[in-house]
Amino acid sequence: MSIKAYKNVFDSLYTSLCVFASSYVGNIDVAKDLVQDVFIKVWEDKIDFKSELAVKSYLYTAVKNRALDFLKSKRFKATDHMSVVELDHLNKESFYLKEVVIEEAATVIEEAIKTLPNRCAQIMRLSIKELTNIEIAKQLEISVNTVKAQKKIAYKRLRPLLKEHFVLIAFVFSSSN
């Protein structure tokens, strides 16, 4: 992977991976260290990715494994401890998949909303939190009709972005080999 492609992957996924890792280790600073370790390994081992799916699959798995290793390590046990039940829970495949889904869905939502004009984005942020149109109108001191109209604009603009194959973050993969 070229350094450019590598930086692109880092920029696109670093934050998500840190948040994801912290759901295992419960500490954002430890999470950051784990994720950086994984990134160093990707570079040192010259791992090359061919698609968005491949890169995500690899990185989420690698971060998960490193996080679980950390929880079983002496370093962790010396300062903290986790019950066997809790560790079992984190070890489950469905816990891993659930955390990936949350991270991925949250990122899509955030990136999509970022593309909207300010007022529209404000309304959509509240809408996501399951506020009704009336509640949104009250909170922003605007009319319910304005809320409805703005939502309509948002849906129209987001429609192409929400198709399944749409990639919000463009990955640049190296073209060689």
Binding site: K7, V19, I28, K32, S94, E104
Partner: protein, 383 residues
């Protein structure tokens, strides 16, 4: 991996449902999670305090700083000036666009939309066989015979055993609003951009140079190495120049009605020639041959910008609005007229996903500028 693919698609579906204020049915019907887990997913995405704590967590992550510390731990090749480019390329967030343009007043006017029928470009091409008959290749039409296999996005020529010493030619024509990928019988791969035509033999004759012609348009080639073909060189002809290689990766842009041919080398080396001159390119170099000049103008460029079209994005670095509109008009198959001449040379930098509507792109440009646009059928006027 199967699960992982499902997971990524499911994530997008959930995000779409929540944004549309709909029930997340794809999650409800998913067999990957228990009900408790499903509830937890929705809660984490929609609950006010959950969203707030996620936001706080993200605020504790300083991506720039962490990148610097990560970078210092990597063993990097010596040429560190790459870094500047890396930052430039990382504006991959599609919507992160900036006009290098200074104008203070931004009066907002609404665009006029009349009966828009503009579609996003897709994979498609027309195959012309040696007997002159034509076949449409797209997501619903396939073509197959003994050694040829054409489907929705790619046509592959097998190396059929033949003692034929006569070359038999096929043409592949990609219309406006299309793109297509062909693998020739020698293993060379060619990606064709919108409004391009390639002429090539169904089979190459061993011991002879491999010759292919880009009749017009833009192509990205990964040439199968000569060493695999007893040293037979590969030549790509265009109207004004010949390009000979032994095995390499490059992009040639010889778009209709343009005054120059642009050749960009990604890997390997190539020999360019026209009637009067020859020139050799090394990776990251670009040669421009103008219609009115006979020599090649060589410069070093950021290659990614010129080859990103085949990865589903338009990449522009300080490109004029006029040139951008030319690119867009080929992909969306529309005519674009810029009324105000001053606007034509406005510079623009950004990366745009090709899978979005043209209205979307125009809206983005509009939001950074005091331009307005009008869409009538397939004609767009920018004023």
């Amino acid at each position: 991996m199967i699960n992982f693919n499902k997971i990524i698609i499911l994530s997008k579906q959930i995000a779409a449902s929540l944004l549309k204020d709909e029930k997340a049915e794809s999650l409800e019907s998913s067999d990957l999670f228990s009900q408790e887990e499903k509830d937890n997913i929705l809660k984490r995405l929609t609950d006010k305090s959950e969203i707030a704590s996620r936001f706080q967590l993200k605020n504790k992550i300083d991506k720039k700083e962490d990148w610097q510390s990560l970078k210092s731990k990597l063993h990097l090749p010596k040429k560190t000036y790459y870094w500047q480019y890396a930052t430039a390329a990382s504006i991959a967030l599609i919507m992160a666009l900036t006009f290098v343009y200074h104008k203070i007043d931004t009066q907002k006017v609404d665009p006029v939309l009349v009966d828009t029928k503009i579609e996003i470009g897709t994979d498609k091409a027309i195959l012309t066989l040696s007997d002159g008959s034509t076949v449409l290749l797209d997501s619903t039409n396939v073509y197959q015979n003994k050694s040829v296999n054409g489907n929705g996005n790619k046509i592959t020529y097998g190396s059929a055993e033949s003692n034929n010493q006569e070359l038999e030619f096929n043409y592949l024509t990609v219309p406006r609003g299309g793109q297509y990928h062909v693998e020739l019988s020698d293993g060379t791969e060619v990606w064709l951009n919108s409004e391009s035509q390639l002429k090539y033999p169904v089979n190459f004759i061993e011991g002879n140079p491999r010759e292919v012609e880009l009749v017009y348009g833009e192509a990205y080639l990964e040439v199968s190495k000569s060493t695999k073909h007893n040293g037979d060189t590969f030549t790509l002809k265009t109207k004004e120049q010949n390009l000979t290689v032994l095995g390499t990766i490059f992009n040639v842009n010889a778009v209709k009605n343009e005054t120059e041919i642009i050749t960009t080398l990604v890997e390997g080396s190539i020999l360019l020639s026209n009637d009067l001159n020859t020139s050799i390119l090394v990776p990251s170099q670009q040669a421009r041959l103008s219609q009115d000049k006979s020599d090649f103008e060589i410069s070093t460029v950021e290659v990614e910008e010129f080859i990103s079209w085949r990865n589903g994005v338009f990449s522009f670095t300080n490109k004029s609005l006029k040139d951008i509109m030319k690119v867009l008009s080929r992909w969306y198959d529309v005519d674009i007229l810029i009324v105000n001449e001053e606007m034509e040379n406005v510079g623009f930098t950004g990366v745009l996903n090709k899978q979005q509507s043209i209205e979307n792109i125009l809206e983005i440009i509009k939001s950074t500028n005091n331009m307005n646009y009008k869409i009538e059928n397939k004609h767009i006027t920018i004023e």
